[in-house]
């Protein structure tokens, strides 16, 4: 039984390593420019993922932002982030404070996310 365990351990690790290679070797890395990278770093620093989600992963108290660039369009999205309207479940709480350069970079990052080919998700009419 001990042999079975070690064979499974080594074997499955190898299979998973192979699957990892096939998963990651052919993604559209060339579309990622400096703006997107910096935008992602800002996105991480501000902790957006705690309320929002990307690819459906993250917090569930604010809209999923995978396709927000398609849904709102860049100008309206930028306006939203700069104007900081009141969050609709509250009376006085506003959306997070962001500087203009930060907004531009985050929107670049979200545009890239928007371009990633996700199979059938989300189901209509979310898109």
């Amino acid at each position: 039984m001990k042999k079975l365990f070690f064979i499974t351990l080594v074997g499955t690790t190898l299979i998973f390593a192979l699957l990892t290679y096939y998963t990651t070797y052919d993604l559209d890395y060339e579309l990622i420019d400096q703006e997107v990278v910096i935008g992602k770093r800002i996105w991480q620093k501000k902790g957006c993922i705690e309320c929002h989600s990307i690819f459906g992963n993250g917090g569930y108290n604010a809209p999923d932002l995978t396709y927000v660039v398609t849904r709102l369009g860049k100008p309206e999205l930028i306006q939203f982030l700069l104007e900081r309207p009141v969050i609709r479940t509250s009376v006085s709480k506003r959306h997070i404070l962001l500087k203009q350069e930060e907004v531009a970079k985050i929107v670049s990052f979200l545009s890239f996310v928007n371009s990633v080919k996700v199979s059938k998700w989300p189901p209509n009419p979310m898109k």
Binding site: L27, Y29, K45, E50, N61, P63, P123
Partner: protein
């Protein structure tokens, strides 16, 4: 009930614990378990704060929601890990029948880990968030956690190869789990530019730490614990353990696919994820069934009903909250609608706390109190705290699940705006918070109970 009290009175005359000799290593293990329980108590209070924000968003909050949730998520992984380390050190010693190779290293590891947890909490309070769910800790702290795990694996390995150490299956499985946790955390110290790759690697901690590494460690520890509190024979459990461990490895790795449905990776993950998610149920059911079968035997002796009871309750959450609900969510056509809703939140609370939280509470409770004479009052308070914890968990899980169903219907299917639906969910957040109050009540009673035992000097800890 009478039989139960008689059993506990039996320990009065003998100083020996149920496992026999008390190892010096166990005293260090107790420090780990005690620290874990303290963090658990803290977690229950912080979680209440987060839940309140969703009920009364306009209340002034000392910590922003982003940072508070980061604290909540990190604590939810780190306190069980700390407790599991203590349980592993204790049972590795009792199973191998030697002292751990270096108690000094074990103490250093403890302080590195505790310092990291405090550092992570402190840095999040001041807004230093690395922005990846469950991995919000900034780089230096992730390095320290990795270091603590490396020390852990080294110490356990050195213990295993000691000539006097008995080579047990429980130890092999525990050690494998720890080593796998190191390999899975290491790449997560990096920054990933591509969000798909980021999520792909992130789930090596978020999924495989739970469903591979700590499932392995937990399996080894639980089997050792069962042998310590009952007279179930070792031969029976040994074979079962290797079979279970093999299934855990196979399914733990490949069922990760159920997190890879919609993150922008090739579609072969839909098939692999579904297939191995269904297989994941096998080890869970296998263990729960054989546990019950072995316990329901005529001359079965149990010397710690409280711990056994909690392990069985944890098995229940394992089968339902983790297994069945998880399996439902893993069916691609269902996931299409349920993914990214509060159903995930419901599942994570039921699975993570129901399985690992309760396992670590049961094990830490055993490690801390197995050679202490406990008063009836103490045991009653413990049982009450367990009832409150599980009741609170049930209320929270149910509220979040129902809220998730509302989200699925109104947001995903009917197409209402997300925030409009969020406004409608307020009653569910209120019920969830009430469940949280019940839960926190149980957590604090349990924590305070253990603290009072420590204050009376009844627990011999070494750090």
């Amino acid at each position: 009930m009478l039989f139960f009290w008689r059993k506990s009175n039996r320990n009065k005359k003998s100083k020996k614990n149920s496992a026999g000799k008390e190892y010096e290593s166990s005293k260090v293990a107790k420090s780990y378990c005690f620290a874990a329980i303290l963090f658990f108590g803290l977690q229950s209070v912080i979680a209440l704060g987060g839940g309140i924000e969703l009920v009364f968003p306009d209340l002034p909050a000392p910590i922003s929601f982003q940072n508070g949730r980061g604290i909540h998520l990190n604590l939810s992984i780190l306190w069980p890990t700390l407790g599991l380390m203590g349980m592993t050190y204790h049972f590795f010693a009792t199973e191998s029948e030697v002292e751990i190779y270096s108690l000094k290293l074990a103490k250093i590891q403890l302080w590195i880990f505790v310092a990291s947890v405090l550092g992570i909490l402190g840095s999040l309070v001041f807004g230093f968030n690395d922005g990846r769910e469950y991995l919000e800790a900034k780089m230096p702290f992730r390095v320290l956690i990795l270091l603590a795990l490396i020390i852990f694996a080294y110490n356990l390995l050195r213990t295993y190869i000691l000539p006097a150490a008995k080579k047990r299956s429980t130890c092999v499985v525990m050690l494998s789990g720890v080593i796998s946790a190191i390999i899975l955390l290491a790449p997560n110290l990096l920054f990933f530019a591509h969000p798909t790759v980021d999520d792909y690697v992130r789930f090596w901690v978020v999924h495989m730490w739970e469903e591979l590494s700590f499932e392995l460690v937990g399996a080894g520890v639980t089997i050792a614990l069962i042998m310590a509190i009952t007279n179930v024979k070792r031969q029976l459990l040994q074979k079962l353990l290797y079979l279970e461990a093999s299934l855990i490895v196979l399914t733990g790795f490949l069922a990760t696919g159920h997190h890879y449905y919609w993150i922008g990776v090739p579609e072969f993950w839909l098939i692999i994820g579904l297939l191995f998610s269904t297989f994941q149920v096998i080890p869970i059911v296998l263990v729960s069934y054989s546990l019950l079968k072995n316990l329901a035997v005529k001359d079965r002796k149990v010397n710690n009903f409280i711990v056994l009871g909690l392990i069985l309750i944890s098995s229940f959450w394992h089968v339902t909250g983790a297994g069945l609900l998880g399996l439902l969510m893993s069916i691609p056509s269902v996931s299409l609608y349920m993914h990214g809703t509060l159903i995930t939140s419901s599942h994570s609370h039921l699975a993570l706390f129901g399985v690992f939280g309760l396992m670590v509470i049961a094990g830490s409770y055993y490690v801390l109190t197995n050679n202490v004479i406990l008063s009836k009052k103490f045991q009653i308070k413990t049982i009450i705290s367990f009832i409150l914890l599980n009741l609170g968990l049930l209320i929270m899980g149910a509220a979040l699940f129902l809220a998730g169903l509302v989200q699925v219907y109104l947001w995903r299917i009917a197409g209402l705006d997300f925030m409009e639906v969020q406004i409608l969910l307020k009653p569910y957040y209120i019920v969830r918070e009430l469940g949280g109050v019940v839960f926190a009540g149980g957590a604090l009673i349990f924590t305070w109970n253990i603290v009072s035992l420590v204050k009376k000097g009844k627990i011999s800890m070494v750090w």
